[in-house]
Symmetry: D3
Subunit: 234 residues, 6 copies
């Protein structure tokens, strides 16, 4: 049943692009704490933040043939999302494939397996979020599928979904919820800007968010330190 | 039994501060190879080194309410130390809480769980040592305790103990041993400076530390390479 | 049976040095996908690439005595390769030993255990590939061996073999195959340079490597996206 | 958006029940090597084999409230499938809940988290496949959902899908493919029975499956042992 | 500072013994969800349940000398609890030491490291809870301490504390709280007996524990399955 | 370079068989604490103990073709030892292959990857030591080698070496050292029989092995418990 789906519906480009203004943690909260890939997926270098529409690839263990097939299905603004059908720490992806994706305007790669050529990818500025770094090569013998729903690092990713990735990890936003989640992210960010200012001025969240009463109701007690000389001793 | 202990005794400020001049490896050796947190606690960015007095927080899995409570108990020169009561890879801490701690002069965070907003924390220069990076959020529903003894990453940490953290990890120095360990760290550092100079000049530790006799006594044999052409072949 | 083998045969210096011009991934492919250490061995800082001849050390768990013994056996252009006889996350190696190795022209260290003084080693520019970072110290009580065959991170390493290490990991090239693998690496690099240029110009690997026929023969199908509005919707 | 879906469509009972005659490995192969949960899900005791229709539960970390809610939605022949929204090693399930599920004819539990009361569950004969055994308790504070699609141990599970579990692990068969996969499992089992008889009689798979020609075509060489005394020496 | 503490205070024998009537999960809940060792400590064979007073041992990595020292400090009804000062998967303990402990009436061993001679220990019926099974041996070169407070698998254990262990794991009860926790365990067990009977009769926890109102207040919705043919289709 | 080596030299049958009388821990000690596979290789069921001569197989990730090839090279008294060239948790082996090996008198399988059909293998009494249990299937597309030196679970295994496996793990004895290690195992076993008898009679290893003086010389101190009521309180 290996299949390549051409031109799947994608979240609108302007919406997908706008997510790059928000961090993964913000987007994850804004869509009700769903869609976060497991934390063992991490960036190969620090400081990148991308958003784009998913082109999905289901690959056999230690076989990267379908990534070559997937390149042709990628368009400007896409993010490639790759999941092996069973665990593999092989290095599926390196700077040659990155060169090819770069030429098509792809924003980055998310892969629940290994990546190699880390030094070259860092120099090119092509960001990758992977399960590990591994120089192990792969073969080109068995088919897989492109642009079918996949489970990647614990989350269902469908082609055209929005992918947001930064130093904190990777989150997937379902295509049809993209606009709604974008607005919620923006709202959350604005709320936090106000809070940040108050915290910086020394206000406590206990007061900013009125937590004291709820804490007392749950039974929190305050007592003094064991010998009361806490301050003096310093 | 959730409780917040106010003003626990703390190691003297000058002593705690002085530890920042020594690395974690040095302090760990100086106190007899005790107090090191397990190596899965690592810094979110390279190059930070801090020392300060512990404010401890025991938190439920995936619930960061007590960290908000703990902020109020923090003073200039403290380090927040957080341990969940059972394993959690949730992201308990981000830049908003860091802003609040910063405003109180807190030096950094050590947490046996996840941290998020890594890019922002790096930019702020607020150092965190955590078990993982995770954008997963937390709830605010269940109480825990502040400034009680906790086990964090395999070590007992009591409020007011000295925490030293750098690229090598985190070590805890019991409050009442702080002065003694500080002196031992200084002594060790001085000894090592002399050794470093001799090594740099090409001397061998076998001679600097008189190891040859002990090695021979244990039975170490030296033999020549299999075909004797080792040098010539090059 | 602890033994130190002096002057084992080494791969020719010029050959070993020349490997530094190729990445680990390239060398690994060039020798038929063999010799790669497991991916849990990673560099303590990004950006280093070294090649040299192995001086091997078999050490007891949490005991670094034999590393001190091994320093004397190291020559300019060597790489130290250390494997404990059973798992240990102790920090066997720090900046003092690095100073000693530096003085003898050693290129770096590969160790299937822990390393410490990461900040200092980074500043010195002495590269280390290790299983973990750990400030845990070691003792000097039990003998091991130097320049005997060892298994390090899943690979057999014999003294005098070539070690290549970079951000992607570590690969070992058997001494007697070194020249042949060096040529194969060079050939591979040249082929890839041509491919890279074509990819950058937008050509697809499907065409550059004539994959379309083989894919069709294996049964790959192409279908259109579920609602055909993929492009329009954007 | 917490929701409980009542009476979702289920795979036909007779079909689901018939899967208990085939092992997980057979079913997995029969549906084209798809649907297998990751191997870290293992049975709490050896020797159980079950098949049934999935009632799915999405739970917060360390909170088992929704399992209590799910009991009411279970019917005779169901299998409960539970996935936390982020990693948790808490013990969500014990013999009290097993007693309740037993009373409704539930066949077993699959959970990507912890289970407790292993001795009691073993004695009752209520089989559980879990990520770990853990006596850690849970709270009842946050809602989740019942009978929504979930990702459990790397696989998408929809309510009403068929779950097959034995000592080898757990496989999910999509509801609408159940009859087809059942037939394929039966066909595979019959083929294997014939092969087993030939292997037991000493025939080689090289001959039974005509592999010799393909191996030669790929370039496999046969050589004699290094000193030819292999047989004699014995 | 290696020290052996003779005759530390122990929890009263009758109290410690009585804990064997309750499971680890029950005791853990009864003392407010504290004291549970991490779930990677598991029994070497199924079906054992023990309770006793802790004799604690702090050991160097891969060195079991202090276990030999500790045997002499053990009395009838004790449980040996061993923690290495840094991670070790060595096999510290086998049937010879078990024979010695058996002769003194020791109930079992809890060790945050490896154990060997599993077949023999199973046959003897000497129960061990360990982090792994490992035939790796240990040396006898470095001192440690007996009957000092240790951190074992994430929990502080003091000599004389009560240890309860079964198929679900291991829990420690502080010596001075032993009587109180025993009573709470008994009370919990009695409550659960009543609940078990109602569950077995088909009652739902939603009703037995009056959860419906709280669930509705939190916003739980019930909806019908997607096509309503759920029951019919079966 | 895929190759099958026919009739490699094997350790003498009588010697290999005699190892089945000794446990893995004993053999490991007797050969100087070398040759032990990492402890993550464990038996699929408890209670088996085997010894035999290794037929080695190097396999690609998730491809078991070469195991089919290896069957023909196996003789009565052999043990199959399989290592993938890079990590794979696929289930390479099940009851059909076990049936074929059984027909040739093979004693068991050691594999640094996954195994399936655990229930059937247990019933047949065909013992397997594997890195995991996994129903994941494999393909038959890429060649590997039979009877070449391999690294399996951290140890070098050469064809014809002796393999000993039991509940404690797996140890490899080099072919040419087999007789010598067998004698050392026997001597060790006899010594331990005498020690066991003395321990069972209540003697302490401190006295049996004269440890007290060495402990005192290293500086071990004995002190009385904190309040001296240790015995009385009980």
């Amino acid at each position: 049943m290996p299949v390549v789906v051409r031109n799947p519906p994608r979240a609108p480009r302007a919406v997908a692009d706008a997510f790059a203004g928000y961090g993964v943690a913000t987007v994850h909260e804004a869509q009700g704490r769903t869609g976060l890939l497991t934390p063992d997926i991490s960036p190969i270098y620090a400081g990148a933040r991308i958003a784009g529409t998913a082109v999905t690839v289901s690959v056999p263990p230690a076989d990267n043939w379908m990534i070559h097939v997937a390149v042709e299905q990628c368009a400007d603004g896409d993010v490639l999302v790759v999941a092996p059908t069973s665990f593999s720490d092989a290095g599926y992806f390196g700077e040659l494939l990155a060169t090819a994706l770069n030429a098509r305007g792809v924003r980055g790669l998310v892969i629940d397996a290994g990546c190699r050529d880390v030094a070259e990818l860092t120099q090119m500025g092509f960001p990758v979020w992977s399960a590990c770094v591994s120089a192990t090569g792969t073969v080109k013998e068995t088919l897989g599928s492109v642009n079918v729903p996949i489970v990647c690092a614990g989350q269902l990713v469908e082609p055209g979904d929005v992918i947001v990735a930064d130093d904190d990890g990777v989150v997937v936003v379902p295509r049809l919820r993209a606009s709604e989640v974008l607005e919620a992210s923006q709202a959350r960010e604005e709320r936090e800007a106000g809070v940040r200012k108050r915290y910086a001025a020394g206000e406590l969240s206990l007061d900013v968010s009125n937590m004291r009463e709820a804490l007392a109701a749950k039974g929190l007690r305050y007592v003094d330190g064991p010998d009361g000389d806490g301050g003096a001793a310093r």
